[in-house]
Symmetry: C2
Subunit: 344 residues, 2 copies
Amino acid sequence: MAHRVTIVDVAERAGVAISSASAALNGRPGVSDDTRERIKEAAEELGYVPSLRGRSLSAKKAFTIGLVVCRSPEVLEEDPFFGAFIGGVEQVISKRGYALVLQMAADADEEESRYRDLAAGRRVDGVILNELRVNDSRIALVRELELPAVGVNPAEPPADLASVHQPSAPGVKDLVDRLVGLGHTRIAHVSGPPDFVHSLEREGAWRDALLSAGLEPRLLIDGDFTYQGGQKAADLLLEGTQEKPTAVVCANDLAAAGFIIRAQELGYSIPEQISVSGYDGIAWGGYIRPTLTTVQAAPRELGAAAADLLLDVISDPERNKGRVVEMPPGEALVRDSIGRVPPA
Amino acid sequence: MAHRVTIVDVAERAGVAISSASAALNGRPGVSDDTRERIKEAAEELGYVPSLRGRSLSAKKAFTIGLVVCRSPEVLEEDPFFGAFIGGVEQVISKRGYALVLQMAADADEEESRYRDLAAGRRVDGVILNELRVNDSRIALVRELELPAVGVNPAEPPADLASVHQPSAPGVKDLVDRLVGLGHTRIAHVSGPPDFVHSLEREGAWRDALLSAGLEPRLLIDGDFTYQGGQKAADLLLEGTQEKPTAVVCANDLAAAGFIIRAQELGYSIPEQISVSGYDGIAWGGYIRPTLTTVQAAPRELGAAAADLLLDVISDPERNKGRVVEMPPGEALVRDSIGRVPPA
DNA sequence: CTGAAAGCGCTTACAG
DNA sequence: CTGAAAGCGCTTACAG
C-alpha cells in the first residue's frame, strides 16, 4: 500500500510546523499570507487530503449525521417518499463536508436502540427524527443522550428541540373544501396509524373542514399508510351495511391507490361514483388511472431543510435550540380521481 | 456535557492496564478468564461503549462502507429499487458493526469524484459499485485507490474485482419464449441506456430468444429506464409508419408502466392488442391496470449479498480477490399485461 | 498472563 | 507570526 500523505508530509515539504499547516489548511488565523500560500501549495503538490479519522478524534466530531428509517423493508420498497427525503439531506450535507449514516429499524424499540448505538459509539454528530409519533420517546432520548437533533413535523415543538415543519392541514382542508364544492356531503377519511403526528394532523384537517362546512365527520377508517390498508378501507366503506361515502380522503397516496384499485374491482367507477384523494404527491400518483388527486408535499425540500438546520444545531446548539423552520404547506394537486357528487 | 466513559475508566475500575482492557473487550487472547470477566463487568457497570473515533484511528478502519447512487433525485423518487437494495445492505452490515455512508451523484463525473473523496478522506473501508457501465471507469479507479470494492452485476467480472451477479437473461428469455408461445412474432424491446451492463444483458437476452425462435430482432427502441422513456417508446412504436409490434418487452417496470399508459391513451387495449412486460418486479407493477407481467428481481437480497461480500473483501482482500457470488436469476412473474397475439 | 509505551493523524491551547 | 507539546480514545507490538 502506497504511503498515504499526512499533514506531517505537508508541513515538512513547506518547512513549517504541523500546527501551522493545520491552521493554514483550515483557514484559521495565525499564519501569514506568505506561509499560508506555501503550505497550500505543498498540500496541493502532494495531493493531501486530511484523514477524517485523525480529524474526528481530535476535533471530537464524526462529520456525519444519522437517520434511522423505521419501516419494514417491504414498505420502503414501494414508498418513494424516503428516496426523496434522503436525496434532500444528502445534497445539503455533502456540500458541508458531512456524510449521511443511514440505518434501518423494524419497529420503535429497534429504532430507539439504533439511536442509542449511534450516540454511544459517537458515530454521528446529530440525528434527524423523522415520522414523529405522539409523545415520541426519541425526543426524551436525544435530550438524555445530549445528542443534537432536529425533528421533522413534531406535534407541539418542544421548547428545546429544533424542528422543520411543513403543515399538511391547509392542503387537506383545501381538498375537502373542493369536494364540498362538488356537492359531496358524505366524505370519508382513511387515516394513517393513529400514533403518528402527521396522521393526526391530516385527520384533524379533514374533521375541521367537514365541521366548518356543517357536515359531520362520521366516516373514519383507521389505515396504516399502506396500499393494502387502502384496499381494506375500500372493503369496509363500500361493502359494509352502513351509509357509503361519495368521496374518500386518504392520508397518503399509497393508501389512495389501494383504495381506488379495490373500489374499481368492486365495480365502482372513479370518480363518477366515488371521488378519491391522497397525500404526498408521489410520481406514481400520475401513473395510475384515474390519475390521483392529492396534496403535493415536498420531501426533498423537507430533507434539505432538516439537514441544514441540523448542521446549524451541531455547530451552535445554544443559538439554535428550539428553532423552528416553517416550510410552505403542500398544495392541492387536482387530477382525475375526484369529480361531482353522483346524483342521488 | 457528562464525562464520556472511556477505556481508561474501565481499566481503572477493573484495576488493569488499558491494553488488557482492550484485549479482553475485543475477545483477543492474552488475558486470563478471570481478568477478562472482571474487565467485562467493569465495562458493563460503567456503560462503556467504545468510541468509534479512537478505534478508527488506531485500527485504521472507518467501520463504514460507501454507496454512491448515481441518479437524478427525481428518478430516485419514483424507482423503488434503491430503497430495497439499501435495505438489504443495511441489514447485513449493521449486524457486523458497520454503517452505511450514502452519497448521491447527478452524473458519472460527479460519481467518480464522490468515490475519490470517500477514499481520500478515509471515510469508508470499501465501496459497492452499483449499476456498472460498460468499461466502467470506477473499476480502474478503485484499483488505483486500492479501495476494497464489490461490483454488482459487472460485465466480464475483472479478475481482481469481487462481485455479485444476478443473471437477468434467463428471466427475459423466459418471457420472450412465453410471448412466442402466445403466437407473437413482432416482439419489440425498449432498452435501458446502452452504456449500462444490465441494459445490454437484457437486450441481448431479448435478441437471443427471438433468434432462437427464428424471429428477427428488429423492433428496438432506446429507452432510459424512466416512465417518460416508456411513454416515448409507445409513441415511436405505435405512431410510426413502420410495422407495429404486438408485444413489447421493456427493460424495467417503470418504462413498462409508461408504455402501457401511453398505449392506452393512444387507444390500444392491453393485452388484447399489445402485450407488455417489464423487469424488476416492483410492488407498483401490481397496482397498475392491467397488472404488469415482469421478471421478479431480488434487490434486497442482492444488496445483502453485495454487503456481505464487501465485508469479506475488507477483512481479507487476498482471499476474496475476484470472488464471484452468483444469485439465482429472477423469475418471470406473469400477470395480466400479456396475452395471445391479436388476430391479424 | 500482564502492563508500560508508542502510535494512528489530526487539533488546540500555549509558550516563544 | 511560528513551533513544540499535549491530547483525542483507542490498538498493537513488545518487554517483563
